[in-house]
Amino acid sequence: MSAQTAHGSSTEKPIAFVSAQALRERMHTAVNDPHLRSSFRGAMDFLMAKRAAQFPDESELASLRSLSEGIRQYSLARLPDLLEQLEASLTKNGVQVHWAETPAEANAIMLGIAQRHQAKLIVKGKSMVSEEIEFNHAMEAAGVGALESDMGEYIVQLAGEKPSHIIMPAIHQTKQQIAKLFAEHIPGVEYTDNVDALIQIGRRVLREKFEIADIGLSGVNFAVAETGTLCLVENEGNGRMCTTVPKVHIAVTGIEKVVEKLEHVAPLFSILTRSATGQAVSTYFNMISGPRKPGEKDGPEEVHLVLLDNGRTQAYADEQLRKTLQCIRCGACMNHCPVYTRIGGHAYGTTYPGPIGKIVSPHMMGLEETHLLPTVSSLCGACGEVCPVKIPIPELLIRLREEAQSEPHANPAMVGQGAGYNKLASFGWRMWARVYGRPGSYRAFSWLATRFRMFSPSKQGGWTAARTPLTPAPRRLRDMVKDRR
């Protein structure tokens, strides 16, 4: 019996991303949903203000960002070595290290561990990588229950949804919706939309589960190569429960999360919590260095780390795209994104929504499915401006546009290169370059456009959907300049 059926909930829906058309439809629905619009706007305003309050001193922020960027780039530059070192240190500490190239491999490894222990229930701390590989789905298909213990994730799981934000998974849910979910799915619970009461209810349910769970699953924020330490940032204490109470702890993370030394963690931790939730520090910071040792009173008997690739080496292989892997998953780019604010997280249809989702998902899912994603941006740069590790997100979006739309060619840098190739659009740009790249042609073209302005179309596609048409001026600036001479 799975944890979810225990609550009578439906099975979690798999990732909804199917096609560019589906993405368009979801975005259209989302942007026209006034409730969604106002709730996301309110929540993002709140988070932006919280972050801003953490960085009153611009120059301190600037130097902390440079330091954090430097640490991430230093770590990535040595990634293969650091991963080897991490494995050696962890092994020495008694942690079993596993490597997974694909989500299926990662799930198979973890299912194998679960089956070896005849596990019936896995209790989970918050882990976006487990979302990325659709862990819950895979476990349930094999008859092993997987229960989220982070309050937001728990709510999302009860609702049969995916997280809509990487830090606040249930940010799209109102307290009334949550109250209804709890009353419907948790036996013996009456409807209440008192937030404190709701949290107490959730805590009580989860508390019981920690005791009976066979395995605890967690993510990792930073994996320290030198010491073999897995660092976990959290606020609810459920992460600590997951990693200490059950007999077995499995941590799962992407290969990019490694840093060399413990001293590299402090600045990253500081800028992570301040950028993410506007907290000076999180309530909990766990450092896991191995299973229970003889004589110790608590801690798991077995600790595993599953290191997942899932497209990360593809990004790694390219100097520019590698910057994608600097990410520390703070979510600030979403909070500040005018597009995310207007469509919310689900519309993207990817595990990671918002700006980070747009640059990382194409590596995980291939451009075949995601080629439209990088175009859903006005390139305003708000994301890059707040990113604590200075990922040039707009620059990467432009690069991904190129990868998606260029004519398919041999040895591409990305799987699915050219998936968004459109012969007509490419021809259009070639013609554009012919005209604008030759001053004589441009002069002729602009002369015609202004002289025959009355023939400019009144319907101009997306532009006139909400605006009056663009019409060239009667005379060009160059004509006005000439006249004066």
Partner: protein, 270 residues
């Protein structure tokens, strides 16, 4: 590929002394759609005793293709512009995003072409956004002849983040004396133009520009002033459509380029 990080900190740029002459790089949008903004910018500069050279072979900085993911086409167009500025005069651009394209991205698109890259770098170093140039190089200071008025200022994302000109636009307005600046809600947020974004994703672009128009109007400002014609057309043409839909005969949110506004308040085009 590490260019100096565009964005915050551009105020630290060293500015030259007031030159005898400048090149005026109008941008294709100004040339064809808002020529009066270009004319007003030229007039303002000339009034300060600066000779303005308008290279007749100018077309476009290549930005539309560059941001759309067509770097070859952007390169072809940008390459045609490298010969335009033979003398060592500053280059003034009445648009934050085109100035940003020249200042930060030309070098990148010529990364594999050392000769062109070097020329692009030399051009980038003397390229200035209009407000930046007027404030820091010209030291604009003219008597405000207009009646007291409240206006809103929209700073384009590129001007704000690549050229760092938000405070410069505000300072220029403040120097007028009779102009009160109303700061609108979510002032730093994008107006939703984003070039091809407005055509490719009209739903989201419309949501963004509608919110922008609403917060600009909510200030009670008589008009919006901006140094970017792309944003200006986006905002004012959205407002115009709302006016038509509501049956209003007069524009509820007229807009002007900063150059036009400054010139009108300080004597006008003679």
């Amino acid at each position: 590929m590490s260019s100096p990080s565009p964005g915050a900190g551009q105020a630290a740029r060293a500015y030259p002394a007031r030159p005898a002459a400048v090149y005026f790089y109008a941008t294709c949008l100004v040339d064809m759609f808002v020529p009066e903004a270009g004319m007003d910018a030229i007039t303002l500069l000339e009034r300060e005793g600066i000779r303005v050279i308008f290279p007749d072979n100018q077309t476009c900085c290549g930005q539309p293709a560059f941001t759309s993911g067509f770097p070859d086409e952007a390169r072809e167009v940008a390459a045609s512009q490298l010969d335009l500025f033979p003398e060592d005069y500053p280059i003034v651009v009445p648009s934050g995003s085109c100035a940003g394209m020249i200042r930060w991205h030309w070098e990148k698109i010529f990364a594999d072409d050392p000769a062109r890259k070097a020329r692009a770098a030399a051009i980038a170093a003397r390229t200035f956004e209009f407000a930046e140039f007027l404030l820091h190089v010209v030291g604009f200071q003219r008597k405000d002849e207009g009646a007291p008025v409240t206006v809103a200022l929209h700073t384009s994302c590129s001007a704000r983040r690549e050229m760092g000109t938000l405070l410069m636009g505000r300072e220029l307005l403040a120097r007028l004396g009779n102009v009160k600046l109303a700061i609108h809600d979510h002032e730093s947020e994008c107006c939703g133009f984003g070039g091809s974004f407005s055509l490719k994703h009209p739903d989201i672009s419309t949501a963004m520009v509608s919110d922008k128009v609403a917060s600009l109007k909510a200030t009670g400002a008589r008009q919006v002033v901006t140094a970017d014609c792309g944003c200006m057309l986006n905002i004012t043409k959205r407002a115009a459509r709302e006016d038509i839909d509501a049956g209003r005969a007069t524009a509820s949110l007229p807009g002007e380029h900063l150059a036009t506004f400054l010139l009108k308040r300080t004597g006008g085009r003679k």
